[in-house]
């Protein structure tokens, strides 16, 4: 596929966002889903959290961040793609965390925003490092499965299928799914519920 869609490494300032189970209602409150486009969502990312207390997304030290560092089960809850869209449009190009919700992980992948995992201790160490050295670039390497900054390196993980999709530029799946539409029709013709349950029962 197109070489322009290949994502092999993301490098840039990082932003540490501490806390487990950060849900998509917090990433983008529901009132901003009352729209027919994704335009402008970046203006409201974490809006309620940011109003409630000082927040890393308002911290000038992390302005221009490209790599978001998070803890466990990031993006749980609602399936709203508006959440990864808001982060992407804000400038985030990779998220490194302890774990991600399944739906968020998939939604992010489909807009070219890779979510990678690392051990909790490594995430904590990297967060502390970035807080002390906010201008140091962090490099997330999908090919090598490493995360590096000045004087810091750790192993990172991503399911191999997903990684291949990014490094080969095939993460935009529609084309892939459309490739052999005759086979899709074949499946449809063998599903009993699409054929009046006329065929002999099968499982």
């Amino acid at each position: 596929m197109s070489g322009s869609l290949r994502i092999t490494a993301i490098e840039g300032p990082a932003l540490p966002l501490r806390g487990d189970d950060i849900d998509t209602d917090r990433i983008i409150p529901a009132r901003y889903l009352r729209t027919v486009s994704f335009d402008g969502l970046e203006r409201h990312v974490f809006e309620d959290d940011r109003k409630a207390a000082p927040h890393p997304f308002d911290d000038v030290r992390f302005a221009g961040a490209r790599v978001l560092l998070v803890h466990g089960n990031f993006g749980c809850g609602s399936s709203r793609e508006h959440a990864p869209q808001a982060l992407y449009r804000w400038g985030i190009r990779a998220i490194l965390g302890e774990s991600f919700s399944d739906i968020f992980f998939g939604n992010a992948a489909l807009i070219g925003l890779p979510c990678l995992t690392a051990a909790r201790a490594d995430i904590d160490a990297l967060m502390s490092f970035v807080e002390q050295h906010p201008r140091s670039a962090v490099r997330v390497d999908l090919a090598e499965l490493t995360c590096e900054s000045d004087a810091f390196v750790c192993r990172i993980e991503m399911p191999s299928a997903q990684r291949d999709a990014f490094t080969s530029g095939t993460w935009d799946t529609t084309g892939l799914l459309l490739e052999r539409f005759d086979e899709v029709r074949d499946v449809a013709t063998r599903l009993p519920y699409l054929t009046g349950f006329g065929a002999a029962p099968r499982a």
């Binding site: 209602d25 809850g77 939604n107 529609t174 349950f197």
Partner: protein
């Protein structure tokens, strides 16, 4: 070695393995609503694509619709714009739409089953995480994002990672005053809000087998709150009896053939599972959440554990060692895709009948669908609720999420039959949600504070 329902349905719907290692999975039923679809239809328009299987695609409006004053155009211009966009998209792409005013309109996860669209053995996708609800019928149903909505519209397929299966066996009798909602809240409390990541949850055991379809839907609905994108129950006679006679269910001889096929899909007795968990129903009590995720809960007689998440406690204004019981409430909400079906409303009405809502409480009942609403009205449930001081609304997602005029204000505390107690979830950035069963919400509405519903129904 036998197979689980998940694997049988998965294999039947697999078009091919993709070079990415994922499966290309055919989607048997695609449900669409106004919030997560506009950008997907726009993507089709931009590329000149059609909807691949318009007769397997059905749309309704639920998230943004007001639950009163529904004459068009809506007073809320953003909501009007979204509904008008969905109307245009459905018209342009040949998709059926059950709009406001239609007797088939309602919350997407309530109407799919009600209309008989949701059936065993289907793969079902919808741009909403509570799509897991449909698994109650032995379907493999999961929430998707808008780019995936685009993919399903254009190709009727998804690229999916395989899932592991955890069987959760619930055995024994539930005590009076303990409901399906308490079962799933207890499961999430035990396994955690991320325990289900990467898993499908198969709910089994004699407690589940005795449950009605409404109860099974409540359980499967909240699978995602435990991190499991998919939850399901093997189809049985209860499932088949529910489906018989529904508008989109097979009829006549086809129904008999369908039943045989459906029955064959249930997990084999020698199927192997990636994990097995057992829950004793007798040990369960009414559950109420104290925190800001659905796993942060206690039995209503218990105290909030020491060393609980301080941030969540601070947000909620509660303390470790205290009880949620006795917590004063401002709002009582009975509704949402978790608990807005006829049996939920009946159960709540039994408690409310002849009583009065506490003077300081705003209480509302929002039926899950226009059909639930009219069935409830035929039974006089609306009169029972109104006489007690509840507002009786039209069908929609309402106060489950802050996307329509039904919202909390300021730091109000809401006893809610919905599914999420996230910060700000019910429309006020500082609003507080206590999740519980509809019967517990009804009891709290009358008392003006959280009480143990067993004292009322016992």
């Amino acid at each position: 070695m036998g197979k689980t329902l998940l694997h049988k349905v998965w294999d039947l719907h697999t078009v091919r393995p993709l070079p990415t290692g994922q499966s290309q999975l055919f989607v048997g039923l695609h449900l669409v609503h106004e919030v997560t679809s506009p950008q997907a239809f726009d993507a089709l328009r931009a590329r000149g694509w059609r909807v691949a299987f318009p007769d397997r695609t059905f749309a309704t409006v639920d998230h943004i619709v007001p639950t009163r004053e529904r004459q068009r155009p809506f007073l809320d211009v953003l909501a009007e714009d979204m509904i008008a966009t969905l109307e245009r998209n459905c018209r342009d792409f040949g998709v059926s739409l059950w709009n406001v005013g239609d007797r088939r309109q309602g919350i997407v996860h309530v109407i799919g089953p009600e209309l008989g669209l949701t059936q065993p053995g289907l793969t079902i996708a919808c741009g909403d995480s509570h799509t897991s609800t449909h698994g109650a019928f032995g379907a493999i149903a999961f929430g998707i994002g808008t780019s995936q909505v685009r993919d399903v519209l254009a190709t009727q397929c998804l690229a999916m990672e395989p899932l592991r299966v955890r069987r959760i066996r619930v055995t024994g009798r539930l005590a009076r005053g303990v409901y399906a909602k308490d079962v799933i809240l207890a499961i999430i409390r035990r396994l955690g809000v991320r325990g289900g990541v990467g898993y499908a949850y198969e709910y089994a055991g004699d407690t589940i087998a005795r449950m009605s379809m409404d109860e099974r839907m409540t359980i499967c609905n909240m699978s995602i709150e435990g991190g499991a994108r998919v939850g399901y129950v093997n189809p049985d006679e209860t499932t088949f009896a529910y489906l018989q006679g529904r508008p989109h269910a097979p009829a006549g001889e086809a129904f008999a053939r369908a039943k045989a096929w459906w029955a064959s899909l249930a997990s084999d007795s020698d199927a192997s599972y990636d994990d097995d968990v057992e829950v004793r129903a007798e040990e369960l009590t009414p559950v109420v959440t104290w925190g800001t995720n659905p796993g942060q809960s206690v039995g209503v007689e218990e105290t909030i554990p020491e060393r609980s998440d301080r941030d969540a406690l601070e947000y909620m204004g509660l303390s470790a060692g205290a009880r949620v019981k006795g917590q004063r409430i401002d709002v009582a909400f009975i509704g949402s895709c978790t608990n807005s079906r006829l049996s939920d409303l009946r159960e709540a009405a039994t408690i409310v009948r002849g009583q009065r809502v506490a003077p300081h409480v705003k209480a509302l009942v929002v039926p899950g669908s226009a059909a639930v609403q009219s069935a409830a009205e035929r039974e006089g449930l609306d009169e029972i609720f109104r006489a007690a001081g509840f507002e009786w609304r039209d069908a929609g997602c309402s106060m489950c999420l802050g996307m329509n005029p039904d919202k909390l204000e300021g730091r109000q505390v809401c006893a809610s039959s919905s599914n999420r107690n996230f910060k700000g979830r019910q429309g006020s950035p500082t609003g507080r949600t206590l999740l519980m069963s509809p019967a517990m919400v009804a009891a709290a509405a009358l008392a003006g504070e959280v009480i143990d519903v067993r004292e009322v129904v016992g």
